[in-house]
Symmetry: C2
Subunit: 312 residues, 2 copies
């Protein structure tokens, strides 16, 4: 799957992933009103609103990008109907031939991590030869705090199912340093140690472009750390959040890429899906929110291309 | 909610939580056969099987215990029907007046962590004064790797909704030390630093028994570390996994309790819900699996009472 992702990035000349994190506040009134009229002012109505919102954005941008990254928290907040909207979104994006990165940040131990891996990337054994697919993402984000016991069950499912993961190494948020930046035994920050483990966990699962099924999350807001991590995890694809709304700029992104012009994919969520609310794109108006998202995606791709030698 | 949990622990003389982690392999054949006959050998069938399994166990043990801890991974593995079984399980346990600890190990940043907190412990705003409840657990487990940005949105919802969290500090698994035990700047292991933050995050949310809405997860398999953490986080309730199947014994549990006989609640999952598969309880047989679970729960409560001065 890492090969598929890379080939789509090259084909579309866009190391860009659109984060489908549909806060209800981003959804234009006309969509919410229709959904609430049909399903009531309920979780079902909210779930319908975010699904319709997603669908129009995906329709507007799918030809420009290799991948989407739905953030499952934004769906879980509406309970079961929200999770159903997540399922619809994943399935629709796969119909549109997009790689789907489930931003689920799961992590547990042993059979429990295996259950998460199966549920999001694999198939659950039922009886005899029967298996049930779960949520059908192509990649998942994984939290490493529990160590190898938590990550290796995901790696096993990645191998069996040709899927991939991105392990949280250095996150984009202001307080990420509270634990991740602590200087540990060897005189280096914890995130470097996690980065070394990412390199190790992924060492046996290298695809035909030289990249591993085990990637990493490193925030755009910490480019110096990104440069160090790039060297530690040479074969890891880096998923880079924090571009745009969180303050990361395209000029900050160069360190995340390798000399082959590959090795990183940059996420934008709010900057794309709520583009119509930004001054820069407000002329589109709420009715044309999806066109604003398309223009913001084109602008992001051009911005990155102007600052980074992406693979041609 | 921490007060409610403590009062139930005292009333039932049982600092015990039953982990509802229904692996399909634990479910007796007669339940699986009936569910698959009704719903097909599908995710829906599996979800029905684990729900019926849970229901019978809850019916058999609810009067003995203060709380249950459903592990959401075991439900997510079956996709949307699995999550529906999780919802049914949570609601049923609440009908039985049990405190429900959602073992969800979520953690993200800012508005995303807030969405998880709302989805599991709170209510999502819809329009005007309308809110939708999410999954309705009373407590959730939270992963701290992203720092305060990840945890404080949960704490805020806990305050608003009278709920609680247990933050992963030192987990019970063999590889938990890979990152958690690293010696950081101050010459102390990372888990102690996380423990200090737990104490700080919870300092303003102390209930009438002197315990905070912000608790901690510390595995039974590391009692020396438990003793140190008990001192660092005096007001944190400690959720202790790892008893029984993972190797922790009742003799190991004393350090997790305070002198008031409170301060810890011990989880057992497999040891209770799959008791009928253990040599010790095999005379019950698969048909009476729930009675085996009841006996195993009684034995666990007695075992802990024999080794720990629990609050009378």
């Amino acid at each position: 799957m890492i090969d598929t992702l890379i080939e789509k990035i090259i084909a579309k000349k866009a190391p860009v992933v659109v984060g489908l994190d549909p806060m209800l506040a981003y959804v234009p009134e006309h969509i919410k009103e229709k959904a609430f009229a049909e399903y009531g002012v309920t979780a079902e109505g909210a779930a319908e609103a975010i699904w319709q919102f997603n669908k129009q954005i995906v329709d507007a941008v799918y030809d420009l990008i290799p991948a989407v990254k739905p953030q499952i928290a934004m769906y879980e907040q509406f309970g079961l109907p929200g999770v159903e909207a997540f399922v619809k979104t994943v399935n629709y994006c796969k119909e549109k031939d997009l790689v789907v990165i489930g931003d689920i940040k799961r992590g547990d131990i042993g059979s429990t991590s295996a259950a998460y891996a199966i549920g999001h990337l694999g198939h659950a054994p039922l009886a005899g030869e029967a298996f049930a697919p779960g949520f059908r993402e192509d990649f998942a984000t994984v939290n490493p705090y529990l160590g190898s016991d938590g990550v290796l069950p995901f790696v096993k499912v990645c191998k069996e199912e040709n899927k991939g993961i991105f392990v949280l190494v250095k996150t984009s948020n202001p307080s990420s340093g509270e634990f991740q930046d602590r200087i540990v035994d060897g005189g280096r920050p914890l995130y470097e140690i996690v980065g070394e483990m990412v390199d190790k966990w992924g060492a046996e699962y290298i695809g035909r472009h030289g990249y591993s099924a085990v990637g990493a999350v490193v925030g755009a807001t910490y480019p110096e750390m990104g440069a160090v991590l790039r060297k530690i995890m040479k074969r890891a694809y880096i998923l880079v959040p924090g571009y745009g709304a969180q303050g990361g700029t395209a000029a900050d992104l160069a360190p995340y890429f390798n000399e082959d012009g590959l090795g990183a994919i940059v996420n934008s969520s709010r900057g794309i899906i709520a583009a119509y609310k930004a001054d820069k794109y407000k002329e589109f108006g709420p009715e044309n929110f999806a066109l604003a998202s398309r223009k913001a995606t084109e602008d992001m791709i051009a911005d990155i291309a102007a600052h980074v030698d992406i693979a041609k």
